[in-house]
Subunit: 205 residues, 4 copies
DNA sequence: AATGAATGAGTCTTCATTCAT
DNA sequence: AATGAATGAAGACTCATTCAT
């Protein structure tokens, strides 16, 4: 009863493109397929997006904005840098697990061209890393982190995060990604914390 | 004096493809361009490679095998897990810095399609990670590493490594990548070492 | 104060189409552009015209009818074939100069397809030539013209007229077209008059 | 036995395009049709021409160069400006009659866009008019022509020529164009000659 | 082995036209 | 009458791949 109603066409197109780009890759997806999957005419895509590439960007921005909002909100509810980092990684993995197509786009499609790496991919990675950096700086101020460049550390931490997700994608998303949250957290906590003072991670779920 | 003669055509094609794939991306490079850059006829490519995609794979295998040989050799010359890890990361960054095109292919072009992620990208990442894992296991045996899944840790460590390289690529390779070796090493050493026993990293160059 | 209100939509569409067709050519003008220029909705065009091509015809008919009325009126005010011809050419060039877009349509857009040449272009050229022919026949009756086919002569005279206008268009309408009136008149008068009796053209402005 | 042999593909494409452009107009002809008519693959067109528009230009240049060579040669064989002009017009009409498609392209397709009018159409018209102007200047030197701007006169003369051809095209090329040669010649001779000295045109065929 | 002209399937994109509101 | 979102057929152009020489 809902379907095919109102001006949800833009959303339908984005959803269809997300599914197909994630599944088959940007270049192996035709605009005709996207239109069909979205149940719109081929030309309709071009009412909402000026080109196929702009659609890819839109697909990702869509994912990123809701994704980031949730991450920030989740993090802000925690007290202290460690709990925040723990929450961030857990939440990040959960969001990826619930949006495998977006995850795939995030990890590969956005790197099609050098120009895209320099713009969209860079921006999205920056969003993620800004959150991380904020936490690390807090840890630094509180004496919980060892002395380091928070920017570089955030980058590497984010790299570890991506590696976990890419492995999962390369394995057909066949296992539960969230179960790696603890392992990931421990790894990165150890990589950034002051030793000795390192708080024993509570055996959280 | 040698160039352009003899049957080095296969190598010339691979070199041309490496440069172009790295520069403009796999999909934005035509076989005609590759042929021209390699100074061979368009059809000649198909004498040595059955398809454009197979050429991409070959380009990468070429890079990977020489790359890995050097890494293994460099690592084997070091004594003890920490020194080995330190050497591995330093050498890895150096190799990337000297082959920016291959680095780009490594980080993005190999992820064009899910199938490629599952085969080539996975295999190449495995090669890297096997080396890392070997080192971590040695550290575990010697009691230098904390208890952990060496496989997962190797993956995350490799992720951090990739993040550093991707940042560099996204910044037009405009700075010296190797200068990040120490920062990276410290990060990953802390992430895998037993605390307290953590050897102070010598202020190596 | 009137603009944009009432049912002058048809006129607005014709005016917009005239400007755009003349400027960019029929095929390079989209109905969407016409609608926007005319400040009407895309669909509104099809309330007044059944197709884009019919709109082109309408644009031209509009121009032609007012154009021809003025020509006929101007000519009728003159006495004698020579004065009439002189007036016709002068007035014709003036009208073209004041409607460069229509001039362009007249000279090129109407010749898009053979069918259009056979219908609209032919009809418009006939209108012009009928006036000329009438004058020539008058000259013939009065013994001022040499013996000839007035139809053919009218056609050629009209051709010379078009050539002058086309040159002007090809030169970006960068000079005053009307200044060529005398030269044109002399040429065609000489081409149709009896020699010897040829009245010396007064050095009219 | 000849067909489909050697590298006559470029010529076949030009011939096919000439026929189709002349027949249905540039915009109503698809590259697929051209390819089929020329018995080549769709992509082959783009080996020889970088775009459909460049093909149109090539079609016309082809026509123009052979056309002009013949005109010049024919004219140069005649003695005296009047005989030359007579020959030029007669030959010009004959060439048009034998290449009705090129004639159509000449008169209409080349005027599709303002830019084309300014480049190709202008150039082709210049070629024709240069020949005419040369003759008129000779007549001027010999005192056979009345005082006038040879450039403008040549333009108008050429306009009269075009008008005759356009009429013929608008009438489906249903009559013999060459039969109008005398009428045209008389018209233009009268338009440019000194009166009194005007040589009586021999009742040539 | 090598060439490079030729192929033709495949794709993005445009745009005249329609129609539910 | 008017709107403008939606349609979908159509078309120029690309390019991986083949094959006769």
């Amino acid at each position: 009863m809902a379907r095919r109603r109102v001006g949800n066409k833009r959303e339908r197109i984005i959803a269809a493109a997300a599914r197909l780009f994630g599944d088959k890759g940007y270049h192996n997806t035709t605009t005709a397929e996207i239109a069909e999957t979205a149940s719109v005419a081929a030309g309709t895509i071009y009412i909402y997006f000026s080109s196929k590439e702009e659609l890819l960007v839109a697909v990702f921005e869509e994912f990123l904005s809701t994704h980031m909002d949730r991450l920030r909100e989740g993090v802000s509810r925690e007290q202290g840098p460690e709990a925040k980092l723990r929450r961030l990684l857990k939440l990040g993995l959960e969001l990826m697990e619930n949006n495998p197509d977006s995850a795939r786009i995030f990890l590969s499609q956005l790197r099609q061209s050098t120009s895209m790496i320099k713009t969209v991919a860079k921006r999205s990675s920056r969003a993620y890393r800004d959150i991380i950096e904020g936490i690390l700086e807090e840890g630094l101020r509180e004496g919980l982190c060892r002395d380091m460049s928070t920017a570089v550390a955030a980058g590497m931490l984010f790299g570890a995060f991506q590696a976990v997700v890419l492995d999962w994608v390369a394995d057909d998303c066949s296992y539960s990604l969230a179960s790696y949250a603890d392992e990931l957290t421990n790894f990165v906590l150890d990589g950034v914390c002051c030793h000795g003072e390192l708080p024993v991670p509570p055996a959280s779920s």
